[in-house]
Amino acid sequence: MKRLFLVLVVMGFAVFNSVSALGSENFRQRMHTKLWMQRTEEDTKAEILFGREVAARILGMYGLYGNNRVLRYVNLVGDAVAVFSGRSDIDFKFAVLDTDSINAYSAPGGYVFVTKGAIEVMDDEAELAAVLAHEIGHVVNMDIVRELGIKAKGGVSAGFAKIMGGTRESIGVAMKQLVDKAIQILFETGYKREDEFKADQTAVVLLALSGYDPTAIIRYLKKVSKISGSKTEILDKTHPPFEERIKRIEIFIKENGIATDKGVKMKERFRKECLKYVR
């Protein structure tokens, strides 16, 4: 009897100690579902191939802003933030779009764009980092990938299988439709509201981890909210209202006790390497 009791105690201890390290939101999830969540190389390849089609169309819409120096600078800032993103399986690429409209876009696979118009509104490097971090957030959270089901096996993968080894003709209709859908999300309908709020949160986290001032995103949004007209047309229709975003970010910072007095702004470097050329 004593032995049974001992066994039960040991079992109980073992059992309550074996809770999964990262905890699951859903307690019914069994261990094999980890296999699903593991994205394989094939999935990332499919994501990149899809993303570059979307990226090409974003560039086609506005054109690439050609200043090489600015381009390199934006990539340095973006890479510095992306280092802490947890998506080390892709190479993030950043670029500036040649348009006065104020917005930023990202495509799966790590293609991040910020418009010339947006840069003109910024006062320091931290704000640039904030906007890039928000877009990196969409890529890290895989918002478009999840929404459209981009992966190597299953889903609408037939088109991808052909792309990976096929010819020009094989970029099938299904693939084109997905790309068009992604563009629609970016320019017409916007991401899901929750995805936008999550990207804002990811931006704050990335800024804090990399060393930038985490409130930079609030400063930027406040400035943009004061501008109205055609420049913010697309931004307004694809994102939740500024007041709500700012409020949620402030709550997020407060609830997580994120220090707001640390973190750099790098105003001078921003002016010298970027603003000077853009304005």
């Binding site: 074996s18 809770v19 999964s20 307690f27 019914r28 094999h32 579902t33 980890k34 296999l35 096996k153």
Partner: protein, 418 residues
């Protein structure tokens, strides 16, 4: 005298018929349905988070992982019913058992679940019961009821087929966080065909021959209403109500008999023939099942269920319990173990009546091992049932025989996520 003859007529030809029936009628959990559920001893009412949930607790399918799922299970089952020491060799006194074998290869379950509207839609088919016997046996030198005229040779042929199929849709909805409700509406089809042929040749050369045939077809509905509640983190409770309703039943039986002339006063060309038909509907019991599951971690799961079937005209109330656990050894491999009871819905056999139904309480153990990939899981399982009880196989006699039942199922079930 006439009455005695009537009794004698039936003594032999129903010798091995009246005293027993197919196992299915007396037990409710003969073949556990589905992959993971059966592997865990059928303790699935509080889990049911995959297509198999359509059968156990439709509320659970709303918690299925992934977008679309399909499950299929195929079982090979071998069952034995052994009536012990039923026949006696009049020369040597040796006792013989009479054994019934049943083998079946059945597609035990198939189901899919897809998201639909605010909840999940499922469709499944199940074969919860199936019997197939095809046997031919011969016994020699058996004691008979005619003390001075034993049985030189006794030939028994049996051909039994009895299948039940369920198919239908399910729908589940989470009405608020942690509370789900679901409904499965199965249509069922049951089909039985039995042919029994006996030929007894007595020592003095006389013979007795009987051929009995019974068949029926039944159509009906089996709705299953389920609830699932998660009152605490990692704890799930389930409750289901179900019942089979017969909508159509067509029954017929035929008996052909010719008895030994000396005792039966039969003329050379006399034969007894009886045919009957009925469309009376079968009465099935209500079933209530409740379960609890503890999802202790993503690798350890314990579950326990209890089920209750109500009393009917033909059957007693039955309680059964089920318990199971599932352990993931890695992301790719899981093992399961389960225990369950499958109690008889017949009363205990007493020594003072005749023609009682057999009573055997069965106990089962199940186990399986699964291998998972990104899009599928394949499971190899075994299920074993055992029980010892009593039967009164000889019509009109108060003698009680020991009955031992065993059943072994092995099979493969697969699950696909897409």
């Amino acid at each position: 005298m006439k009455v005695l003859y009537k009794i004698l007529i039936f003594v032999l030809f129903v010798f091995f018929y009246m005293g027993f029936s197919l196992a299915d009628e007396y037990h409710y959990e003969n073949i556990l349905v589905g992959g993971r559920a059966a592997d865990m001893g059928g303790a699935y009412v509080a889990i049911s988070d995959d297509p198999v949930g359509c059968y156990y607790n439709p509320a659970g399918i709303v918690y299925s992982m992934g977008t679309n799922l399909s499950v299929s299970a195929n079982v090979y089952n071998f069952s034995v019913k052994k009536y012990k020491s039923v026949l006696t060799n009049y020369k040597t006194g040796e006792r013989y058992d009479w054994t019934l074998f049943s083998t079946k290869l059945i597609p035990n379950f198939f189901g899919i679940v897809v998201p639909f509207g605010p909840g999940k839609l499922g469709f499944s088919t199940a074969v919860p019961d199936s019997t197939f016997r095809d046997q031919h046996q011969t016994f020699y030198d058996i004691k008979s009821v005619y003390v001075s005229n034993p049985i030189a040779r006794y030939i028994i042929d049996i051909y039994d087929v009895d299948n039940m199929y369920l198919a239908g849709p399910s729908y589940a909805l989470e009405i608020k966080e942690g509370l789900a409700v679901g409904l499965t509406l199965y249509g069922y089809y049951r089909d039985r065909d039995i042919i029994r042929n006996h030929l007894l040749t007595l020592k003095d050369g006389q013979f007795e021959w009987s051929n009995f045939r019974e068949s029926f077809t039944e159509l009906g509905l089996k709705p299953i209403l389920g609830f699932m509640l998660s009152p605490l983190d990692r704890v799930s409770l389930g409750l289901t109500f179900s019942r089979m309703f017969t909508v159509y039943r067509s029954y017929s039986s035929q008996t052909i008999y010719r008895g030994p002339s000396v005792y039966m006063n039969y003329g050379l060309n006399d034969i007894y023939y009886e045919y009957s038909e009925s469309s009376d509907k079968e009465e099935y019991p209500y079933k209530i099942a409740a379960g609890i599951a503890l999802f202790l971690s993503e690798s350890l799961l314990f579950a326990g269920d209890i089920s209750y079937y109500t009393k009917t005209d033909r059957a007693e109330a039955v309680f059964n319990i089920f318990a199971g656990c599932e352990v993931y050894l890695s992301e790719k491999i899981a093992v399961r173990l389960g225990f369950y009871t499958d109690n008889a819905n017949t009363p205990d056999v007493s020594g003072s009546s005749v023609n009682q139904k057999e009573h055997v309480d069965l106990y089962g153990v199940t186990g399986s091992v699964s291998y998972f990939t990104r899009t599928s899981g394949t499971t190899l399982f075994f299920r074993y049932q055992y029980g010892v009880g009593e039967a009164q196989i000889i019509t009109g006699s108060t003698a009680v025989q020991d009955l031992e039942m065993q059943s072994l199922s092995v099979g493969i079930s697969t699950i696909y996520y897409y």
